[in-house]
């Protein structure tokens, strides 16, 4: 359970990135944390990990206060940053030095994940390409079997086949006891992967809803033409007509398009808040 209550945080005292932000998340979700560049996605993840401390407010993660960075808390959470760090060690050596800190680490899973992500033992980790290093760290993080996994821009630096493998792997390892946060601005990489969306912008949470709830309240469709309507939140012209995001008044079934959802919400924050209130 992640509880954030009235969180205020800023890198400068006078300029707060988050002001009085509150959020409650039950375990058992793959959450997509979306936001523009500089919206504070990584900052939020760092606050949850205890790398940054709230200026005001309170954060509790599974009953722990992250800023204390207690080992009993840290063994339950793993954060994969956008830029990964690997020392000049072999895969085997890395595993022998780092895995003992994670009691639920599973060596067989680790080998299987490396295999699934096409990471081969090619000597020292720091000689791997950036994408290979990232896939190695993702495999290690998954094998640690922590209750909370925070992935900051995990698909940055991965090639197209690797992105697909990553999505497949995340879907396969997910169980109800885990919470996986995926922070990204590459929204298409999260298609069919996440079951909850959090959108942050200008220091506030514009949306925190499950995919089911979103598809109940909004409809995503393509139309040859459209007329301006108060129920339409967003429209984007393409070769075959318009992609439209509107209020789902007729209870239509439609597939959530994360990119259009993001644009609809950032363009109409007040209206969306009313819809999801």
């Amino acid at each position: 359970m992640i509880q954030i209550k009235n969180l205020s945080f800023g890198y400068r005292k006078k300029k707060l990135l988050y002001n009085s932000l509150s959020l409650n998340l039950a375990p058992g979700s793959i959450i997509g944390l979306l936001g523009k560049n500089g919206a504070g996605k990584s900052t939020l993840l760092k606050n949850m990990t205890g790398l940054l401390f709230p200026k005001k407010g309170h954060i509790s993660v599974n009953g722990f206060i992250p800023k204390k960075r207690q080992p009993s808390f840290l063994k339950t959470i793993y954060m994969v940053p956008e830029e990964v760090h690997v020392p000049g060690l072999t895969i085997k050596r890395y595993q022998s030095l780092f895995s003992p800190f994670y009691p639920n680490f599973d060596k067989d899973q680790f080998i299987a994940y490396l295999d699934q992500l096409d990471v081969r033992d090619q000597g020292s980790l720091n000689t791997f390409s950036f994408g290979q290093q990232k896939k190695f760290i993702i495999a290690f993080a998954l094998a640690c079997n922590t209750e909370i996994l925070l992935l900051d821009e995990p698909t940055n630096g991965l090639d197209i086949p690797s992105k697909a493998k990553f999505r497949k792997l995340i879907s396969s390892i997910f169980d109800q006891g885990k919470t996986i946060f995926i922070s990204t601005h590459q929204i298409r990489d999260l298609d069919n992967l996440i079951d909850r969306v959090i959108i942050v912008d200008n220091g506030e949470i514009l949306l925190n809803a499950s995919i089911t709830e979103i598809s109940e309240k909004l409809c995503f469709k393509t139309a040859g033409q459209f007329s301006t309507d108060e129920n339409i939140l967003y429209a984007e012209q393409h070769l075959k007509g318009f992609s439209i995001v509107g209020v789902n008044k007729d209870r239509e079934d439609s597939k959530v398009n994360l990119e259009h959802l993001f644009n609809a919400i950032t363009e109409n924050p007040i209206k969306v808040k009313e819809i999801f209130a």
Binding site: L51, L74, H85, L97
Partner: protein
């Protein structure tokens, strides 16, 4: 689970720290030892044994200690390595003790062993090069002796090293990038600032100052006469004791607080 200290976790962390960057950690130590060896050989040839021992000991013990101290927490130069270090499940105390053990105990001990071996080898080579039939043999033989690790000046080096290493350790937790240079500059600025301020205050009081050192003395020139004003012995010893022990202990302790409060 003990969140403050677990011996098993500490040993795992120490092992990880030593073996994670073996080339840097051990290569760095070897590099310092080689530089000490070269410095010793150079000074012995051109200045003599005594200065060679003193200079190379100060460089290796205090200088090398500073390098090592700034290295043990040098994880914060990149976002990824700093994050990896801070989120690894070990307590602040274990992480701090690991740094202290490497910079404050293991390196100095390794250096002392190396220095004694090097010093003894040079002295042995010197003594065996002497001619026993030479009338000055005994004098020459006895004129060179191994560097004493418990001498008065050696203790001053220990004390200086304790202070400087602690400062570098603390500095490496404040300055994420080029921590060694920034810490060294800060220490220099504080020392220069302290001396400068002391000198300014002394000038305000006396005017005709020759030199002044904080809490130690003020030398005044009146005509051709030079006199030194010193604090009472009790105060002077309190200051020297503080400088040698209290301030370094505070600095090393502050590094623990800084590590605990480190945001990254």
């Amino acid at each position: 689970m003990n969140d403050i200290f677990s011996l098993k976790r500490f040993l795992l962390f120490l092992k990880k720290t030593l073996l994670e960057r073996p080339v840097q950690m051990f290569g760095f130590t070897v590099l310092i030892f080689v530089s000490v060896l070269i410095l010793y050989a150079f000074c012995k040839t051109f200045i003599g044994f005594g200065p060679a021992q003193n200079i190379s000991f100060i460089w290796g013990f205090a200088g090398g200690g500073c390098f090592m101290a700034s290295f043990v927490f040098a994880y914060f130069s990149t976002n990824a390595s700093g994050l990896s270090y801070l989120t690894l499940p070990a307590s602040h105390l274990e992480k701090w003790l690991c740094g202290i053990l490497i910079a404050g105990i293991l390196y100095p001990l390794a250096f002392l062993v190396f220095f004694r071996l090097m010093d003894a080898s040079f002295i042995s080579a010197y003594r065996s090069s002497l001619n026993p039939r030479d009338p000055l043999y005994k004098t020459q033989y006895a004129s060179i002796f191994v560097f004493p690790f418990d001498g008065r000046n050696t203790w001053k080096v220990y004390s200086l090293s304790f202070f400087l290493s602690g400062s570098m350790l603390l500095g490496s937790l404040y300055f994420n990038k080029v921590g060694f240079i920034k810490s060294a500059l800060t220490v220099c600025l504080i020392c220069i600032g302290g001396f400068g301020l002391n000198w300014l205050i002394a000038v305000l009081f006396f005017g005709n100052i020759n030199d002044a050192a904080p809490f130690d003395h003020v030398t005044i020139q009146i005509g051709n006469e030079v006199g030194s004003i010193e604090p009472p012995k009790q105060w002077a010893s309190i200051f020297s004791y503080s400088l040698a022990y209290v301030i370094p202990i505070l600095i090393w302790g502050l590094s623990f607080i800084r590590l605990r409060e480190k945001e990254f």
